[in-house]
């Protein structure tokens, strides 16, 4: 065919696409979008099928049978999860105005500029080989269509101005520039472009199905026939099983995995699937429509490959071009032209979307960050920056295509389409931990993502593209054969000494293993900045924030209204700026013209829309230059603190309560023990009292009985008996009185009225009452009062009882022949001291501890049990206890005893006026 006709048809086709795109954009502006349906969305996703699919699959099938299939089975397997994963990514991206895969990664990890740079670099370097094979495919098909043979002019030997691939690269650059950089859309949405892409997807499917039907049903009689023909040739029959076709489980598995990640993360897939998505719910239908598309476009691949191998047994045509050469040699020129057009659309759609996606990344993440930071930019009063950004994008597109052309010239031609494409897939798979970890694992940090990308990229670069440069004779082959630095372990194709049958599987395994391990390890050993943490939260919990509104912003920023306006003007143009601000006014019901300062809502609004135009990281920096950032206002900080305090107080109160409870339990336990002790004492007491009561009653009973039964008892005897009865009765009375006393003192109800009184008077009075008794017994007595008055808070009767008790005891126990009792009242500081001293036998140390107990009496070997109930001292002690005083004894055997009473005084003591 004439080259002129082919070129003309190609241009006519491109013009048709432009018309379509133009119409699409027009509809978009009218709000009647052409692309807002899941069918178009699924077709746009089919930009996944490039010249690689179109020409390369057949080539691959011709050498390794069904080995071409994992690249399409992977997406089919992951598609059911789109409803979960892809939808989440879309929702996040819509809420954050994400413009590219690099933007997504950068945003997730705290809008990091550096992460954006790294991700963009990986994407650009990773995709260049991929674009280069599209150039190769287009130029090869052009050569074939125009000249009819593909082996005459190796492109690498042609000067570029004679090379069809060069002109194709130029044409594609113009095409992409016209499609993708006409205006700067804050949402990075190109409805017209998507309409054109969807059309191209439809065309390539129809064209491929046409050639498939032509081969299968035109040249042969259906699938059975073509396969049976193949079976007859052993070299073809081997393609029908995996082992003989040279496919192993390891490689198959990794190809499936790589394609799963590629279908979502390749820059162009992310662009059509996420950035250009109009409705998150379209994902549902696309998750089966898109696999269906893949199934249809693959179903004839193997039959075409078999037919090609049978028809060209001597390798007249490269298997990569069977799709075209089969109709050509059978004289079906119109079909061949349609097929060529289909291949052209497959390649162009990929290149256009890929370079547009890459140019967005380059301008937003490589150039703008530099530009914004340069001082000239900050001083320059440029009214509109959007043209500048579009300029940057146009230049990026040209550079990317030139690089791709360069790679094609240097390397691309020596490899099949598929093997080069897989290099790109492996590069893009390095995003997997950062992206999927990022949307499900909050703990992942910026440093973790950076380290993971760098490690993965390094391993990828070393194991895949570097060796291809060796074969292109651009660098020495030394490291390929002997390993890096001569280390056997660092041979690119058998890294760490492990030999693998497939370079791709090896590279994918090592790069992803090290990449993922680094991601988790570094994330677990680093901490997030507040912005990172809030972004992580927004990404992982996107559903929560969608339901709960968007009042979640850690950045409470304020800026001048004027600054915001200038900024939006500069980057988005005046018209768009006004539209946006009006939309904001309507949504928030505010009048911005009345406001001097822009609140945090408007600042965030401006940032997200700027992010749509220039990427999140750049938008953050730009907005940061005009805002005063109050990470959180003082008031809010207080609110947070208050809440924290409340919680802490609550927990403290709980703690206190539980302590109290513990203490109460302890007290209860003690009280219980005391009660038991008291109970025991009471029982003892009763036993003792009844015993004490029985003794006198027994003697009274016995004596009375004797007198009753013996009337002849002599009078003296009767007298004596009656005396005993009387004294025993008195003893009984005394005992009962004392028991009652004790009861009164001990019972709590008996609240004595304590009043100020002069202890000296009490002592005087009590002592004088006992004087006659002592004189009767010839006891020397002495009363020494050294303070007067000695005012204490007390009960006069009870205190008298104390003195009487103590003095009576002294009288009772003093020396029989030469008795002596001394009573002293003095003071020791604020305490009044009453001492009662006798010169009796004294009290042993052991007895000193017992005498204050109930019913203890110091028995004497010589004198026997003394008279008395044994309650006296006990009662005395109890009374003194009631006066906050204490009773003690000081004694030595045979040297008498001194009882000492301490009672607190009310006033400082005054020296006694009289003795």
């Amino acid at each position: 065919m004439d080259a002129g006709i082919i070129i003309f048809i190609s241009f006519a086709y491109v013009a048709l696409l432009f018309l379509l795109a133009f119409y699409g954009d027009k509809r978009e502006k009218q709000g009647k979008s052409l692309v807002n349906n899941s069918g178009i969305y699924s077709l746009s996703l089919a930009v996944y099928c490039t010249a690689w699919t179109y020409y390369g699959s057949v080539g691959r099938a011709a050498t390794s049978g069904l080995g071409f299939l994992p690249i399409y089975i992977g997406p089919a397997i992951i598609a059911p999860l789109w409803w979960i994963v892809l939808k989440k990514i879309i929702l996040i991206s819509k809420s954050q105005r994400i413009t590219s895969i690099a933007d997504f990664i950068s945003s997730r990890y705290g809008k990091s500029t550096w992460l954006g740079v790294i991700a963009t670099s990986i994407a650009v370097l990773g995709i260049i080989p991929y674009i280069s094979i599209q150039l190769k495919a287009i130029s090869t098909s052009f050569d074939l269509l125009a000249i009819g043979d593909n082996n005459i002019h190796p492109h690498s030997e042609l000067p570029f101005f004679l090379d069809s691939a060069w002109y194709i690269a130029i044409a594609l650059a113009i095409f992409a520039i016209l499609f993708g950089t006409r205006n700067l859309d804050p949402n990075e949405r190109h409805g017209g472009l998507i309409a054109a892409i969807a059309f191209e997807s439809l065309l390539k499917l129809v064209a491929f199905l046409s050639v498939g039907i032509f081969v299968t049903y035109g040249l042969y009689n259906g699938f059975g026939d073509i396969f049976e023909a193949g079976m007859k040739r052993p070299d073809i029959a081997r393609l029908f099983t995996l082992e003989e076709a040279g496919i192993n489980a390891w490689e198959w598995f990794w190809l499936v995995l790589l394609s799963m990640s590629a279908v979502m993360l390749l820059p162009r897939q992310f662009h059509v699937g996420v950035v250009e998505n109009t409705q998150p719910n379209h994902v549902g239908k696309a998750s089966w429509l898109f696999p269906l598309y893949l199934l249809l476009i693959n179903i004839f691949v193997l039959p075409i490959a078999i037919a090609g191998l049978i028809q060209f047994p001597n390798g007249e045509f490269e298997p990569d071009s069977f799709v075209l050469s089969l109709p050509l040699v059978h004289g079906k020129h119109i079909l061949a032209l349609l097929v060529g057009l289909g291949g052209f659309s497959a390649a162009t759609s990929m290149v256009i979307v890929a370079v547009i996606a890459l140019s967005i990344m380059i301008s937003n993440h490589l150039v703008l960050p530099l530009l914004i930071r340069s001082s000239s930019f900050q001083e320059e009063p440029r009214p509109n920056l959007s043209n500048r950004i579009l300029g940057i994008r146009r230049i990026s597109i040209v550079i990317v295509l030139l690089l791709a052309y360069g790679y094609f010239k240097a390397v691309g031609e020596q490899y099949t389409l598929v093997s080069v494409g897989l290099i790109s897939f492996t590069a893009i798979a390095q995003f997997v931990p950062a992206v999927f970890g990022g949307i499900f694992w909050k703990r992942a940090t910026k440093k973790g993502a950076m380290a993971s990308l760098l490690v993965g990229f390094t391993v990828w670069a070393f194991t895949l593209p570097l060796p291809t440069l060796v074969e292109a004779k651009m660098i020495s082959a030394d490291f390929l054969n002997n390993g890096l630095f001569g280390l056997e372990l660092l041979k690119p194709h058998s890294l760490f000494g492990i030999q693998g049958s497939s370079h791709i599987a090896q590279a994918a395994f090592w790069s992803l293993l090290l990449n993922t391990a680094t991601y988790f390890f570094v994330s677990l050993h680093t901490v997030q900045s507040p912005l990172e943490a809030s972004q992580a939260d927004l990404f992982v919990d996107i559903y929560k924030y969608r339901l709960g509104g968007t009042d979640y912003d850690i950045m409470r920023r304020r800026a001048k209204m004027q600054d915001i306006r200038i900024l939006l003007n500069r980057f988005l143009g005046e018209a768009r700026c006004n539209t946006l601000l009006t939309a904001f006014e309507n949504a928030q019901r505010v009048d911005l013209s009345q406001q001097q300062a822009a609140g945090p809502e408007l600042v965030n609004y401006a940032e997200t829309h700027l992010a749509g135009a220039i990427g999140a990281a750049s938008a953050k920096v730009i907005i940061g230059s005009i805002t005063k950032e109050e990470p959180i206002s003082l008031e809010e900080m207080f609110k947070v603190l208050e809440q924290t305090k409340e919680i802490m107080q609550y927990s403290k109160a709980l703690e206190k309560k539980s302590l109290e409870l513990e203490r109460t339990t302890k007290q209860l336990k003690e009280a219980n023990e005391q009660l038991q002790e008291l109970d025991r004492l009471k029982a003892d007491f009763i036993t003792t009292v009844t015993h004490e009561l029985r003794t006198p009653i027994t003697s009274i009973k016995a004596l009375s009985k004797i007198m009753l039964e013996t009337p002849e008892l002599p009078f003296e005897q009767q007298q004596e008996f009656l005396n005993i009865v009387v004294s025993e009765s008195e003893r009984l009375t005394r005992l009962i009185n004392q028991v009652l006393d004790l009861e009164k003192i001990q019972s709590r109800q008996d609240q004595w009225a304590l009043e100020p009184l002069d202890l000296a008077e009490v002592v005087d009075h009590a002592f004088s009452g006992l004087k006659p008794l002592m004189q009767d017994r010839n006891i020397r007595q002495e009363l020494l009062i050294s303070i007067r008055p000695a005012i204490v808070l007390g009960h006069a009767d009870r205190l008298t009882q104390v003195i009487v008790n103590l003095v009576s005891n002294a009288i009772k126990f003093c020396n029989e022949e030469d008795g002596m009792v001394i009573l002293r009242l003095k003071n020791d500081g604020p305490m009044a001291i009453v001492e009662v001293e006798d010169n009796g036998r004294g009290i042993s140390d052991k007895d000193q501890q017992l005498i204050f107990e109930k019913f203890t009496q110091v028995s004497d070997e010589f004198r026997g049990k003394p008279t008395g109930s044994g309650l006296g001292l006990f009662i005395t002690k109890a009374i003194i206890g009631r006066h906050q005083g204490r009773l003690s004894v000081r004694s030595e055997k045979e040297k008498g005893a001194t009882f000492i009473v301490h009672i607190p005084m009310m006033h400082p003591p005054v020296p006694a006026a009289r003795p």
């Binding site: 089975i73 999860l81 409803w83 059975g224 396969f227 049976e228 499936v256 089966w288 199934l295 179903i299």
Partner: protein, 67 residues
């Protein structure tokens, strides 16, 4: 409802992962043919079709239940 669909889709994914990988593929990777068509080719494309059909069924079930 939503949870059900989630588990169904996850289950489908794991089933597909097994069906389209070794060692299951080995079962079909021999030179037998059904109606002239190699068994492996038939298996892969039929399973693929089934996967698409099931995905469609599960996803469609939510479309009707949506408010």
């Amino acid at each position: 409802m939503a949870k059900d669909r989630l588990y169904k889709l996850l289950g489908l994914f794991f089933a597909a992962m097994a069906i389209f990988n070794f060692p299951l593929l080995n079962l079909f990777s021999h030179s037998r043919a059904v109606g002239g068509v190699p068994l492996l080719y038939l298996y892969l494309f039929l399973a693929w079709g089934a996967l698409i059909f099931l995905t469609m069924r599960i996803v469609a079930s939510q479309d009707t239940s949506k408010p």
